[in-house]
Amino acid sequence: MSPRERISAAIRTAAAQGEPALIAYLTAGFPLREKFREHVRALASAADVLEIGVPFTDPMADGVTIQRASLAALAQGVTLKWILAELQALGRLRAPLLLMSYLNPLLAFGLERLAAAAAQAGVAGFIVPDLPLDESSELRAALDAQQLALVQMVTPVTHEKRLAQLCAGSQGFVYAVTMTGTTGKSVAVPDAVLGYLDRVRASSPLPVCAGFGIRSREQVKRLRGHVDGVVVGSALVEVLERGEDPTPWLQALRSG
């Protein structure tokens, strides 16, 4: 199975149990660089897919929690190079790994070198929030060579024609942003959002995962049946920030 197929398969397998798959997000090196391996191991066994945030100085799609986590990680000297070395040292994990990064740190690393280094570190794909499909051909070509996924995001304001293009162009899964706005704000999941997610699912050959603002079991229950997975980011980062064990918190999202 190619790395990008591993992502889709992990989400489908989990969703087949009746609850949306859990995609956990962690800003690399936050809250403590020394705890990175421990957190990755814990989250990779509690979640179905693990998304690792590469910190960036100007995270324009992110709310206050991930901004704070990113700057704290940078202050500890976290770099893409370091992240890849740590992941390589960890070896193969149960859950497939994605890197979530703004484009500039990837450009600075060098796109071709990046694909090979990421594949070697066990990374199965990328999410690049400031790289629209229209500008992605260079990164896409580099990742194709290693069969790595480039996940596309769709949003509630994406019009129908573009939605079809984004769903067709995505790999691994389709990341359905639940709201207009940055990450972290809690959303009520009104009926309109469920309708939008149903439309995304109808046009996507890949699993559809909802993200931005997902924090509670109530939200996950609302989304059940409308998505194949949910991404939890800011809320999970806050759990780690408080020094709590993320495993029971994640388990509580999918039971009860």
Binding site: A61, L80, T155, R162
Partner: protein
């Protein structure tokens, strides 16, 4: 390595630029520009691009824009011969007086133009960023004039060093939001304005103040500011019967300079010079001289030159002038540098302050600290081209800088 070496088709790119074919359909100026934004903003940018195509050059829009420029902004701004400065520096120095435009700087040209466009596109509210506060004040004034609600994001550090402009914006009915994240200057203010826009991309219009950002902003801002160069070119011809030997402007994001340069790019005999903020020196973090010390990368929606470290993290910058204190530069400037049509140099904080003093003493004009960088470059040019003629884009007035000047020029005077 020079970038021009990486662009062997420099002559062809210059020809395309002059022919008006750049930016291309993908929003590119050669390799620079493009649209690197979260997916949420794509429909808003497509609507804006469509709106620009439909309205910007339509005769009714142009008539409306021209009427505001004449009756409210106070255009055309004067062209002033700087007689005593010319005598001191040994070359003939002419000033394009954007400091005389309403609200005290060139920023108003773009602000009223985009506010008119926003109204046509049915925007319910305007959001903007500001560094020195000049763009914020210009937006606040334009929005008051057109009856649009306006919110301006401003870095907490800039709010302190440009306090009078904060008060002006508030008096003009604008909500000023302090930005305490990131570097707490212009860059963080743009991040925050974009986050606001992402939250409401349908009804909010983002009124970007410089020739930066995702397509079509660099193009839109250039077109609205190009009035500076068009006026200056015909004023120079009327006053002297010929074009200047050199044209010079300061470059932060690059809107006054792009506006001044655009009409002259095809005039091969006119040397064009952009002056960046050299700050305290060449070290990373000591300046805001992006073309001089940067490398290509992506920030705030465009591929352009950037001050960044080896890991692609954006570098904090320093300049005595808040308006130039920015780690990026417009993509068209990146192209003009790469193809060698414009030469970019730096002026230090100290040199800029000397420029403030020189213009104030010789001509009775207190220039903005930003514009003083261009004056410093003009002095350098004048001293090496005795008898030549140089046109300086005096982008703004210096009243807003009084607190910085108290601590620098006036402080050292009393000590």
């Amino acid at each position: 390595m020079t970038l021009s070496a990486a662009l062997p088709d420099a002559a062809q790119l210059l020809a395309e630029l002059i022919a008006g074919r750049l930016p291309d359909a993908r929003g590119r100026f050669g390799p620079f520009g493009g649209r690197y934004v979260p997916e949420t903003l794509i429909p808003a940018l497509e609507r804006l691009e469509q709106g620009v195509r439909e309205h910007l050059h339509a005769s009714d829009f142009q008539a409306e824009f021209a009427a505001q420029l004449t009756s409210w902004v106070g255009r055309p701004t004067a062209l002033t011969f700087a007689a005593r400065l010319s005598e001191r520096w040994g070359a003939r120095v002419w000033l394009k007086r954007e400091d005389l435009a309403h609200t005290g700087a060139h920023k108003i040209n773009n602000a009223i133009g985009q506010a008119l466009l926003a109204r046509r596109l049915g925007a319910r509210r305007i959001v903007a960023e500001t560094g020195a506060g000049q763009h914020g004040v210009a937006c606040a004034a334009a929005c008051a004039r057109l009856g649009l609600p306006c919110t301006v994001y401003m870095g907490a550090i800039d709010m302190e060093r440009q306090a009078p402009n904060v008060g002006r914006m508030r008096l003009l009915g604008t909500e000023v939001v302090p930005v305490t994240s990131g570097d707490r200057t212009l860059r963080a203010a743009i991040d925050e304005a974009m986050r606001d826009w992402v939250a409401d991309p349908t009804d909010t219009y983002y009124l970007l103040g410089s020739a930066v950002g995702p397509h079509p902003y660099p193009y839109l801002v250039r077109e609205l500011q190009a009035v500076i160069g068009r006026e200056a070119r015909s004023q120079m011809l009327a006053a002297t019967g010929r074009l200047p030997d050199a044209l010079i402007a300061c470059v932060g994001g690059g809107s006054n300079s792009m506006g001044a340069f655009h009409a002259f790019v095809a005039d091969a005999a006119v040397e064009i010079i952009g002056v960046e903020a050299g700050g305290r020196g060449a070290g990373l973090g000591e300046n805001a001289a992006t073309v001089a010390f940067g490398r290509p990368g992506v920030l705030h929606g465009a591929y352009s030159m950037l001050l960044q470290n080896e890991d692609g993290q954006i570098q904090e910058t320093h300049s005595v002038s808040a308006g130039l204190d920015y780690p990026g530069v417009g993509p068209e400037h990146a192209l003009l540098a790469a193809i060698g049509r414009v030469h970019y140099q730096t002026a230090s904080d100290e040199e800029a302050l000397a420029g403030v003093r020189a213009l104030s003493e010789c001509e009775g004009i207190l220039p903005a600290l930003e514009s003083a960088h261009a004056l410093s470059g003009a002095e350098r040019w004048a001293r090496s081209h005795p008898g030549g003629t140089i046109l300086v884009c005096l982008s703004g007035r210096g009243d807003k800088d009084m607190s910085t000047l108290q601590q620098t020029l006036l402080g050292s005077q009393s000590a």
